[in-house]
Every structure is written in C-alpha cells, then in structure tokens.
C-alpha cells in the first residue's frame, strides 16, 4: 500500500462540521477546508487559539471525529472513512498523546500493565509483552522497577513518559501530540521535549504537534500551520514563519508571546488584538480574521482569501499581504472623471 515518495500523512480540504442541537440547519464549522502534508521523520505544528479547530483536526486524523468532507491519506492509503476494525488495525501506525497524563492512565493498573495493553489488543504473547515493556521503559528513560508501580507513585513528568511509552508500544510511524507538556511543571517540560526530540531522531517518527506555546513550537517543528476559526491563516517552514510572519494574525500571535527577558520585552512593539475569537457558528462571510484585523480593507469582509505563496517563504491567506491577483493600480481606483 505504501506508495514510494508519498508523504506519510496527506490531508486535503478537510472539513469537520457539527450540527447544532436546537438549531436545525445550523452548523459549527470547526474545521473548514484545511490541507497539509507530514513527511516521514518530520514535525508539523498546529497553532492557534482555543476554538480554532486544531484539536478537531487532529481528532479527525486519528479517527475520533467523523470527517464531513475532504480526504486523509496515510502512507498513500485513503483513511478518511475507515470502519471500526480497520481503524483498530491502524492504531499500530498512529497514536495520540494527550495533555494530562494523569487522566490518560488507569490509576488501578500498574505502569507495566498500562504499557502492555496495546500489545494485548494486538495479541502478542506474554513473553513478547514482557520484553517490549522493558524496552519501552528504557526508551523513555524510566527505571525497570517502575513496571510494578501505579500512576499515583509517579510525578507528572514520569506519567507523561509512561503515556509516551504506551503510545510507542506498537511502533507507530505518526504520533499526534496534543499539548504534551502544557500540564507539566515548568522545570520538567524540557525533559519531555528533549525525550520527544530524541525519540524522533532514533525512531524516525513523524509528529503532529498541537500547542499554544509558540516558543516550544518554534523549537520543535519543521512546519507550522496557523489556524483561525477552522481555516489556515499561514502555513510554512518554521524558520521563515517566525522570522517574517506575513499574516497579521501570525504577527499578533508571535508578538503576544511574553519573552523571559525584561529588557527585550520593554523594547518590543506589541500588537494587542482587540476582541475575542468570533463564534464558529456565525463566521463572517469574508476573511475569518476581519473583525480583529489591524490592516483590514473593505474587500476583506466580502471575499474569503485563499492561501497564496509569498516571497518570504510561507503561504498566507490575506487579501492585503498576499493578494491572489494583482491589486488594482492607483489609476484604476482613482475617482472617475465627472
């Protein structure tokens, strides 16, 4: 099935819409037409504010949410609408790690049992399971004796190591990491980020990395997708996107990161957006960002901008910064002669 040269994951025009109870005919367009690829061994980050659709995108890929339209290809194979049995088989190829490891582990199971569970489901023998659990504990940097402990005897960082070990039990190619360090203590986060980087190097894993922490995203990701209200505002190589963000929303997001340097902080020009994310129930007809945009022009509230490549190296959905067709010249918009 695996087509040579195809990206590991390929998402095209993905839409995930939810009907609204009590409002027949209304739809929440949580994800509304997004496309991207993840190559083997690479990290793609989804960033944006809560409600932008980043988690829904991940859940659609992992099969937690039904896809309204669009396609998801995994290693060249269409996995958009898989049945239960096929999905379960695919679990050995892709796994997800959630934000809160305490909620992701059964408090009554030992660490060894938790890590072995996917192996039981895939009908591995007891000897195979024992061996694999030992390998996995070592891989994520936990002492072998932790096999017999329960989650309550572990710290938050150690629990997240266990969750990562369990996700790796079946040697998947793709890990979806949904805010994997946000619930951890600050002094522990870099341990887990290092572990993720080392595992990727060692095992050639691909990551779909979801985070609201842009400093972490910049450090780990190869490509970044900035989402706003279910659509992509800007998409491109991480270095280019952080060096020269072109979408006004990307600019605002990056400028809103508080940086741990008081002198640099005082010199920074901050862009403070007014207002909140609008409701995805009644998205504006034009650019979804128009209500908060500091550089909007009249056409923005009428036309939804398409993603257009810009010279700085990213793709940008903005009529002002990345006009799809050449902007009218001055004489064309000049007041006609009376």
């Amino acid at each position: 099935m695996n087509m040579p040269g195809a990206p590991l994951l390929s998402v095209r025009n993905l839409r995930v819409h939810f009907p609204v109870r009590d409002k027949p005919g209304s739809l929440v367009k949580a994800v509304d037409g997004i496309s991207f690829d993840i190559e083997a061994g690479r990290t793609v980050a989804l960033v944006g504010e809560s409600g932008c659709g980043k988690s829904t995108t991940a859940y659609a890929i992992i099969g937690f949410e039904p896809v309204t339209s669009g396609t998801i290809l995994f290693a060249g194979r269409d996995i958009t609408h898989l049945g239960k049995r096929e999905r379960r088989a695919l679990a050995s190829e892709m796994q997800i790690v959630f934000q809160d490891p305490s909620a992701a582990l059964n408090p009554k199971m030992t660490i060894g049992e938790s890590i072995a569970e996917p192996l039981i489901i895939q009908r591995k023998t007891s000897a195979e399971r024992q061996r694999r659990v030992a390998e996995l504990l070592e891989l994520v940097g936990l002492p072998p004796a932790y096999r017999d402990r329960t989650p309550n005897a572990l710290s938050g960082g150690q629990r997240q190591r266990v969750v990562i070990a369990r996700a790796l039990a079946l040697s998947p190619k793709l890990l979806v990491l949904d805010e994997p360090v946000s619930a951890l203590d600050v002094s522990i986060r870099s341990q887990i980020l290092n572990l993720l980087m080392e595992l990727q190097r060692e095992l050639g894993l691909s990551y779909l990395f979801i985070s609201h922490d842009l400093s972490v995203v910049r450090h780990l990701a190869d490509d970044v997708i900035v989402m706003y209200l279910g659509t992509v505002s800007e998409h491109g190589e991480t270095g280019a996107l952080f060096r020269e963000p072109r979408h006004p929303y990307t600019e605002a997001l990056i400028s809103a990161i508080p940086i741990p340097d008081p002198r640099a902080q005082r010199k920074r020009d901050r862009i403070i957006l007014s207002g909140d994310l609008p409701s995805p129930l009644n998205p504006p007809p034009g650019c979804p960002f128009v209500g908060r945009c500091p550089i909007r022009i009249d056409p923005c509230s009428l036309t939804r901008p398409a993603l257009v490549p810009v010279p700085t190296g990213t793709e940008v959905a903005c009529l002002v910064r990345a006009p799809a067709t050449p902007r009218p010249t001055l004489c064309e918009v000049a007041v006609p002669l009376r």
Binding site: V186, Q191, L273
Partner: protein
C-alpha cells in the same frame, strides 16, 4: 469602620513577615517574608506546590480549611491583617485589597448578571445601590475594556468569553479602588492574545490608578513583562528576590538560573537539546533537609544540608538563599 491608609513607611504597601502556613503538620509555606512598594508590581513565581498561591491567599486570610496560618505578620498599609477578626476582614476584602483567580468562570456566580456582581462590593462597602451602583458598574466594565458595557452588564457569565469574564472579575475587584490587587495566575487559562490584553489592562491600572499588584505566576515570560520586583519560590520558601532586571540578568540561585535556561528562546537554536533540571518537583512531605533544591542542584555540596539564609547578593535588594550563589553565573 474607618481605615487609615497612611503607613509609617509610605513606600511599602504590603509587607509579609515570616509567614508560615501549616497543612497536616507540615509548613508548606516556611518562613516567607516579602514586601511590595506602593504602585509596584511584585511577581511571585514558582511551580505547583511551591507555596505561591497559599502565600497569596494568606494576605486576605482566604486559606482553605486544611491550611492554617501558624505564624507571621501581614500588613497592608497600616492594617494588620494577620490579627483581624471576621468583621474586620470583611471591611478589607474587595475594599482595600482584592483578589482575582485563574478561572474567572469559576469565580463568578452563574445565576447573577455580571453587572450586579460588579455592584456588590460597592453596595457592601460604600453603601451605594440602585441606579447609581449600576451606573458605576457599567462605567467600570467599560474601563476594563468591555465593549458595549451596558448590554454586557445585563448578561450572565455563560454569555461571555473567558477573557471577558476575567475582565468582569477585574472590574468587580477594582470597583472600590483597592490599594492592592492580588492576581493568582490571572491569565493561565486564557489564550495568548487574550493574555496580552489582560496583562496590558493590569499595567494600565497600575499606571493610572496606582494599584499595587501582587502577581502570582509560573511563567517567566509574564514575569519579565509585568514585574518590578520578583520573588522566586521553591519548596515553600523564597529562594531569590530582587528587582526584575537583576533576577533575569544575574540570577543568583541555581533554580532561577536553570528555570530560565530550560525554556526554548524565540531567538535560540532550533531542535537543539534543551537544558533540563534533573529529578522532579518534590511534594511537601519529601522536601530534603537544608536547601530544598539540593537534590536537583548541580552545585550542591555538603553544606547544602543546612538551610541557606536569604542573603544579599550583589546589589541593594537582590537576595538569594544559596551557599554557592557566587558560582551560579558559571552554570551554563
């Protein structure tokens, strides 16, 4: 009751001396002394379990049932909060000093219109009610940046976004023009663009109204942006404190130094391995004798088994509790 707000030293608004908070026989806040100057922003920074929130709650005597203030003196202006009785505390809370929390939605009454919640303190402390209270509440909501304040005042919390609920909390906390605002992780539950709005609002309040702010956070970026003075807490104690530039330029406690080094920088190398702090954050029942960071500290030696005093480092007001603070600069 009338409250005289002229303290003996007009520059210090809040002072905490040797605070001890005890839970089940353990001093989870272990001898904390802090002060904040009039009109300044003091950031208390640390990880979960370091005692920063309990310290903040102690100021207004809002400790949860299991926790007890075993020792310490707390003054706001010339009011000695540590010995006030219930009635005295009521007269202070929401009036002289207010507090806001991380989850604004959990702090608001879901069944009450937000305008009425802002009015409450005004009615209680100033005897203002009816149309006048409503007018002042709407004006306050507008002042904290709520567009269309009149309409919003008549809405319920569920009709407002998280950022707007936090603005409502700030409006309710500030309606009586308190001298002190305690903000316990006020932006942790909010998105970064909304966080920027709320932090900006708090700075404006400090600049325009002169409110002294105690900001509790775990985010060194927020500290750098907001604070004049910083107190770093670890294991129930202040391990370092001083002016914000000193703390970031020349941290004198290994914990502060390493904490700053573990965070990926916006202008740093990408994909490189990050600096880590070994081990885990110990619970209060597992704090080591002496310096509580010593199990995780690369500079630790035998002397660290005895408690290091919080001592001046190199400049006025910069203190660190480390036997090896002169070597901290060598920690790359």
């Amino acid at each position: 009751m009338s409250i005289n707000l002229e303290p003996e030293d007009a520059r210090i608004l809040l002072s905490i001396e040797n605070l001890r908070v005890r839970i089940a026989g353990v001093d989870v806040v272990d001898g904390v002394s802090l002060s904040a100057r009039q009109g300044s922003i003091l950031a208390i920074v640390g990880e979960s379990g370091c005692g920063k929130s309990l310290t903040a709650l102690s100021i207004l005597r809002l400790l949860p049932g299991a926790a007890r203030m075993a020792e310490g003196e707390i003054h706001v202006g010339d009011i000695r909060l540590s010995t006030l009785d219930g009635k005295g505390l009521e007269a202070v809370r929401g009036n002289v000093a207010s507090i806001i929390f991380q989850e604004p939605i959990a702090s608001l009454n879901p069944l009450m219109r937000v305008g009425a919640q802002v009015e409450e303190a005004l009615t209680l402390h100033r005897g203002v009610s009816g149309a006048e209270a409503y007018r002042q509440a709407v004006a306050m909501l507008a002042q904290v940046g709520i567009a269309d304040a009149e309409r919003r005042a008549n809405q319920f919390p569920f009709e407002l976004s998280g950022g707007m609920c936090q603005r409502v909390m700030i409006a309710a906390a500030l309606i009586c023009r308190p001298r002190l605002l305690i903000a316990d992780e006020p932006t942790t539950a909010l998105d970064v663009t909304i966080q920027a709005q709320i932090l900006d609002l708090m700075k404006h309040l400090r600049d325009e109204v002169g409110t002294t702010i105690v900001l509790i956070t775990h985010d060194m970026g927020v500290v750098a942006e907001m604070a004049d003075e910083v107190a770093v807490m670890y294991g129930g104690r202040v391990v370092e404190c001083g002016p914000v530039d000193m703390i970031f330029d020349a941290p004198a406690h290994p914990y502060t130094r390493l904490l700053l080094a573990t965070v990926p920088k916006l202008d740093g190398d990408r994909k490189s391995l990050l600096r880590t702090i070994e081990g885990t954050v110990p619970g209060a029942d597992a704090w080591p004798e002496g310096c509580r960071f010593r199990n995780r500290c690369p500079l630790a030696s035998e002397i660290c088994g005895t408690r290091p005093p919080l001592a001046p480092v190199d400049s006025v007001g910069h203190m660190a509790a480390c036997w090896h603070s002169s070597q901290v600069g060598e920690l790359a």
